[in-house]
């Protein structure tokens, strides 16, 4: 398959290791991967913060960058982020329509129909659960809210992690509780967000896992930031990083 990677604005600038892992993983599985140059952001941060009108340009750019999928340039688009895929699938067209751009809404819908979150692409489209990864660590998985409630990825990440050689999965208590990130919520309601992520960090530490993983670096940034501050020693890895890790090219954390 020819697959376009939508890195997302956050991963593209501050956490590229999730994007490079996605590229390496898909190539290892025998696919041709592209990283379209025009891509930037899905518009979610602006839409969710109440800047819908301002988000229009962002959405337009996203749809333009990935519209070639409709002409067959790629077979699918994948993003290492549940919430960005949810935004493409459930928000972009709505916002475009509300702000009077019907044609954009239409194209956005078609592009979104070919856009998948990583675990969806692997399990549903490519039909694999064992990607041949090796990750000799204890791991706990935090189901991010948008992956869980908007995309309903369900047990897909669990199936993928379960097939990783050497990986021991530890169940996370109160797993479905939000980590308190919420985009600009973390700044606008800093104290509440801090109290929420403190609870999440407690639950993660209680599992005794060495690594916490999730399908979104945005939530992981919040969680890892709190774990680092407390010197817990628990490290964060995106699901893509774990699945990309092999005996030949093992996970190296922050290295790029």
């Amino acid at each position: 398959m020819r697959i376009a990677v939508f890195a997302t604005c956050l991963v593209g600038t501050v956490m590229p290791r999730a994007a490079t892992a996605t590229v390496r993983l898909l190539e290892r599985l025998g696919h041709t991967v592209d990283l379209p140059a025009g891509q930037a952001c899905c518009g979610q941060m602006h839409v969710n913060t109440g800047y819908g009108p301002e988000a229009m340009g962002v959405i337009r750019n996203h749809v333009r960058a990935f519209a070639p999928v409709l002409d067959g340039r790629w077979d699918a688009i994948v993003a290492p982020s549940g919430s960005c895929v949810a935004s493409a699938r459930h928000q972009q067209a709505d916002v475009a329509r509300r702000h009077g751009d019907g044609p954009l809404a239409h194209t956005a819908e078609q592009v979104a129909a070919r856009t998948y979150e990583l675990s969806e692409l692997l399990v549903d489209v490519l039909g694999v659960t064992d990607v041949g990864a090796w990750f000799p660590h204890t791991v706990t998985y935090h189901p991010t809210c948008h992956s869980m409630r908007l995309l309903r990825v369900g047990d897909r990440p669990g199936l993928l992690l379960g097939a990783v050689e050497g990986l021991e999965l530890r169940e996370l208590g109160e797993a479905e509780q939000c980590c308190g990130f919420g985009g600009t919520f973390a700044l606008k309601n800093a104290e509440t967000s801090a109290a929420m992520v403190a609870d999440k960090a407690d639950e993660i530490v209680a599992t005794g896992a060495e690594v916490v993983t999730a399908g979104d670096w945005s939530c992981l940034l919040n969680i890892a930031g709190a774990l680092d501050r407390r010197r817990t020693g628990v490290r964060a890895a995106h699901l893509a990083e774990i699945l990309a890790s092999t005996r030949d090219e093992p996970w190296q954390g922050a290295a790029l």
Partner: protein
């Protein structure tokens, strides 16, 4: 924290009784800063919300058609909103035909004037009350007190809140912020007829409240209630409750006054089938609530001989005008969204500064008051305007809501309204920053540059975590590090590896 000086030590929450029950206090972030410090409150909330959350999950999972029931509830409510005027007129006609009197109140002042007028005409100095959000919302008890009438709340938790001088902090369990030691103290000092040596054993407290309330039930001439729903087709009004206090109020006194938000009307008696399943399972996590009282006008020789129904608008038609926001009017006040909300669980209800806390409060309060439009509050920094931002948009509320109110989408919509008020406003620093960000995020080229800049910082800092940032980054770094930045940008990595 209380100090013991031999005097009543329980202080009311909030400190001074608010003049406007629908909106008091500072913005949500400021109010939350206070409530988050209350460890006792946080512990109470954590235990209480988790217990009720698990109960609800169990009893909703056991119904095979729960999702269909939710769909039916949502569909009936959407139908009601699309023809609210005609349903209300039908309700009025049927209540009137059965001997009831219907009053229409545009706002809190009109509703309070109508109810106090009825109570005074009946010559009562004391009335008994069934727990009701509508009468909380309009501050009816204060209005009655102003004309010398003592309104006695008869729901146990509501009575605790009333005696303490508190505002409620939860829709269903308004005293969720009080523990039993505090309740003992409130009863001992404020009830007037508490038995000497009252202990803080739950049973002792319940028996004291029971004796206290029973005396008032038996002498009451007038009762005031809200309504969980009313049937247009028959003129029937219903109250759903657990303690039996409602049944006493609705049957013993001579005069009954019910104040009801206009959105509570349902078209037909058959609709009860849906809502009497959805409500108890979602609110208390019970298959069926202990008491469901229904009455239709007056019945000679049976129950009150005088019945008044006050139909309250108080901002509801304003909310109805908003195509997306009007979903808030579908709410059946079950409180499931509060119990699953991680923000509510941490801040408690008082941070929302409204009788309607939690996720539903965050979308209902601003709409009842008006948001970003004339007469209403202005912008996201107004206390009311801060409510739609009091959410991470995690979606737990939407998942739990028995009538499928898409609270996250409504929140986003109200955020947009708060930030783009009618007639515009001078841009704030945040507006300017978000505008600039939008330009970068709308361009692959500019974002690549941002990525290279991040990598430059990554090289300078050696890819180490960042512990402190200047404001507004300090809001982040106060409790979290910024994980180390990459030493190489994504675009550089992609370019250097060449296309394969």
């Amino acid at each position: 924290m209380s100090t013991y000086l031999g005097m009543p030590t329980v202080r009311p929450h909030p400190d001074t009784p608010p003049a406007a029950p629908l909106r008091w206090g500072p913005s949500f972030p400021q109010a939350a800063r206070q409530t988050l410090r209350d460890e006792q409150l946080r512990a109470n909330l954590r235990t209480a919300t988790r217990t009720i959350r698990d109960k609800r999950r169990r009893v909703t999972a056991e119904l095979g058609d729960w999702e269909q029931l939710r769909d039916a509830g949502a569909a009936i409510k959407a139908d009601v909103m699309s023809r609210l005027p005609e349903l209300l007129i039908e309700l009025e006609a049927n209540v009137t035909a059965r001997g009831g009197v219907v009053h229409w109140a545009r706002d809190a002042a009109e509703a309070n004037a109508i109810v106090t007028g009825i109570v005074r005409a009946a010559g009562a100095r004391e009335v008994v009350k069934v727990k009701s959000m509508a009468t909380q919302e309009i501050g009816l008890n204060d209005a009655l007190a102003a004309v010398g009438v003592d309104a006695v709340e008869t729901d146990l938790a509501e009575r605790i809140v009333q005696l303490a001088g508190d505002m409620p902090s939860h829709i269903l369990v308004p005293a969720i912020h009080r523990n039993r030691a505090e309740i003992q103290e409130i009863f001992a000092h404020r009830m007037g007829d508490a038995p000497p040596g009252l202990s803080d054993e739950p049973r002792a407290l319940a028996m004291a409240a029971r004796a206290h309330l029973r005396a008032r039930f038996l002498r009451a001439e007038v009762a005031i209630s809200g309504a969980n729903l009313a049937i247009a087709e028959t003129g029937t009004v219903a109250v759903v409750e657990s303690e039996g206090n409602g049944r006493m109020c609705l049957t013993l006194p001579r005069v009954l006054v019910t104040a009801m938000g206009i959105e509570k009307v349902l078209p037909t008696f058959a609709d009860l089938e849906v809502f009497l399943q959805l409500l108890p399972r979602s609110s208390t996590g019970e298959r069926m609530n202990p008491y469901t009282s229904m009455w239709t006008g007056v019945t000679p020789g049976d129950g009150p001989s005088e019945f008044h129904l006050v139909l309250l608008d108080n901002g509801r038609t304003r909310a109805l005008a908003d195509e997306l926001g009007r979903q808030a009017l579908h709410c059946i006040r079950c409180s499931a969204c509060l119990n699953v909300c991680p923000v509510y669980e941490h801040t408690g209800g008082h941070a929302y500064g409204s009788v309607y806390p939690g996720p539903i409060g965050a979308i209902l309060t601003p709409q009842l008051l008006g948001l970003g439009d004339e007469g209403g509050p202005f912008g996201a920094h107004d206390p009311t305007g801060s409510l739609p931002f009091a959410s991470t948009l995690c979606g737990a509320c939407y998942e739990a809501c028995p009538v499928k109110i898409d609270i996250p989408s409504a929140l986003i919509h109200l955020r947009e309204r708060a930030l783009h008020p009618d007639g515009g406003h001078p841009p704030t620093a945040t507006d300017l920053a978000m505008g600039a960000a939008a330009r970068v995020l709308a361009s692959g080229r500019l974002l690549r540059l941002a990525g290279r800049a991040a990598a430059l910082v990554g090289r300078v800092t050696g890819g180490r975590p960042i512990h402190r940032l200047p404001w507004p980054g300090s809001l982040w770094t106060r409790v979290r590090d910024v994980p180390g930045l990459p030493r190489r940008s994504l675009s550089a990595w992609w370019r250097d590896r060449g296309s394969r």
